[in-house]
């Protein structure tokens, strides 16, 4: 297993003096699905922005192949004036893929996320879950080696969120990307990941790490098994401790 993404003692201090993260060190290997949980405002999004170079880190080293990086935001960020098909083609268009090739690749990935028949719909006519699927298809079309997700399902209802969790895990198995996932939901973290990192309050550091032993493919019933509940409890406790004494 090779390293797909590596942070070594990375710190970020914003120009206004806000120290978002400090001394963050972790790797994501191919075949891994790593989830980061942490209190609000601790610098989780900043991690992904540093990895993608939207934000410059002020100390430490980051190694990742940015050309093969996928990134979905909390919001689906679909261009409202483009149809589903044309939204999925967007990144391919940026990278100069020819028109016919684009159409074929987009078609294939629309099918992959189960939206065949919606190619010509505009985003305003899609539900929140469908928009997120389009957003996933758009990133997947670039065949990312590392796929980063910033609370992608945070705004969805629980049923839709659980369905998309399973679908995303299927894609993780078939498409072979390394995953770096951010969530507020401990259930989601345990269900999805091979490994969970817990961050402290700002400036964010990694204060705990959990290996998740369950085999893929993971069935929905896993959520109700005692081992699952025990691990979720441990993560929850670490998260509470990391949020500082104020919470007690």
């Amino acid at each position: 297993m090779s390293t797909a993404l590596s942070f070594n003692d990375v710190g970020v201090i914003f120009p206004d003096g806000t120290e978002a993260i400090r001394g963050v060190t972790f790797d994501v290997a191919t075949g891994e699905f790593v989830t980061v949980v942490g209190p609000s405002g601790c610098g989780k999004s900043t991690l992904l922005k540093v990895a993608s170079n939207l934000v410059a880190h002020t100390s430490g080293q980051v190694e990742v192949d940015r050309a093969s990086l996928g990134y979905t935001f909390q919001d689906a960020t679909l261009l409202p004036w483009r149809t589903v098909q044309r939204n999925v083609e967007l990144l391919l268009e940026f990278h100069g893929v020819s028109k016919t090739e684009r159409a074929a690749i987009a078609q294939e990935h629309i099918e992959l996320v189960g939206l065949t028949g919606f190619e010509n719909h505009y985003p305003k006519r899609l539900s929140g879950g469908m928009k997120m699927r389009v957003s996933l298809a758009r990133s997947l079309a670039m065949k990312p080696q590392v796929f980063m997700f910033d609370e992608p399902f945070g705004a969805l209802d629980e049923i839709t969120r659980e369905r998309l969790n399973s679908e995303l895990l299927d894609l993780f198995s078939t498409e072979g990307f390394a995953g770096l996932f951010i969530t507020h939901s401990i259930q989601e973290a345990v269900f999805m990941s091979t490994r969970i990192l817990v961050m402290s309050a700002r400036p964010g550091k990694i204060v705990a790490e959990f290996k998740v032993p369950f085999e893929y493919p993971r069935r929905d019933e896993l959520r109700y098994e005692p081992d699952f509940a025990r691990l979720a409890g441990e993560v929850s406790e670490a998260l509470r401790a990391s949020s500082g004494e104020a919470g007690h």
Binding site: L54, F73, T77, L79, P80, W81, L91, H95, P123, K124
Partner: protein, 273 residues
């Protein structure tokens, strides 16, 4: 072989057009009352009744030709001025969006142009440029460019940060970002600017004509001025109605174009049905 309109859409049209139509009927009723009952015979030239306006302003062949020629001249000035305003105003707004220094240097002057009463500038333009077509077009540009600059700039500045991140992630900048992101995202605001400016452009054209009487062109503004001097109230009212219809027509055309271009995707539009 077009299908007959659905009853529901007919009803909707009636619902939409009904109340304004009732208001028009009311206004015409009051108009009749004032000119036939309230005014004595000696004063009736102040407000001739609607049918008299229609009779001598529109049905009379000579006046109609005059008004239509005026309309044509005004329309040309308006459209040329508005087109230049749109191109120039959008370019200025795009430059202001791309370069902060450009905005901080020139935006104050855009406000100055907007804040100076047009009536105060027109005589100076007359002195500089004479009564030419170009002078009239300049008046139209001065009065109509500001809403285009501000609305375009507002639209460009309101683009969701996430979209910009998405484009930055793939190092898409400059003209590609402008055409694939900034302009489409700003389109609804840009059209709001067009709509305001279309009405103002008509005002500018008529004001210009009203003051530049020496020139060759016979615009509506010049007719209005002449009818006023000669107390031809019927023709004066007919000219005013035509001028206002020109403004309304441009407003509607711009609105229709905006609707066609953004209806399928824009969410803040009123949903029908």
């Amino acid at each position: 072989m077009s299908a007959p309109p659905e009853p529901s859409s007919v009803r909707r049209l009636l619902g939409l057009a009904g109340p304004p139509f009732a208001v028009a009927m009311g206004v015409i009723g009051i108009w009749y009352f004032v000119s036939e009952v309230a005014l004595s015979d000696g004063q009736s030239f102040l407000l001739p009744p609607p049918h008299a306006v229609f009779q001598s302003g529109v049905l009379d062949g000579q006046h109609l030709t005059e008004l239509l020629e005026g309309l044509r001249a005004t329309l040309i000035v308006t459209l040329v001025g508005l087109t230049i305003s749109i191109i120039l105003g959008m370019s200025v707004a795009i430059l202001m969006y791309q370069f902060g220094w450009f905005e901080s240097t020139f935006f104050p002057y855009a406000i100055v142009i907007q804040a100076t009463p047009i009536i105060a500038i027109v005589p100076l333009i007359g002195v500089w440029m004479g009564f030419s077509f170009n002078a009239r077009v300049l008046v139209v540009i001065i009065i109509s460019i500001f809403p285009i600059i501000t609305n375009t700039l507002f639209g460009l500045k309101s683009i969701d940060r996430n979209f910009i991140n998405l484009f930055e992630l793939h190092s898409v900048k400059g003209p590609t970002r402008l055409t694939k992101l900034s302009l489409p995202a700003a389109l609804p605001s840009i059209f709001t600017g067009f709509r305001i400016s279309a009405g103002l452009a008509v005002v500018g054209a008529i004001v210009g004509e009203f003051f530049f009487k020496g020139g060759e062109e016979k615009g509506l503004g010049r007719l209005i001025s002449r009818y006023q001097l000669q107390l031809q109230t019927e023709q004066l009212i007919a000219a005013i109605v035509i001028a206002s219809m020109l403004g309304v027509a441009l407003f509607l055309i711009v609105g229709f174009a905006s609707d066609r271009l953004t209806r399928s995707w824009h969410t803040s539009r009123r949903e029908t049905g």
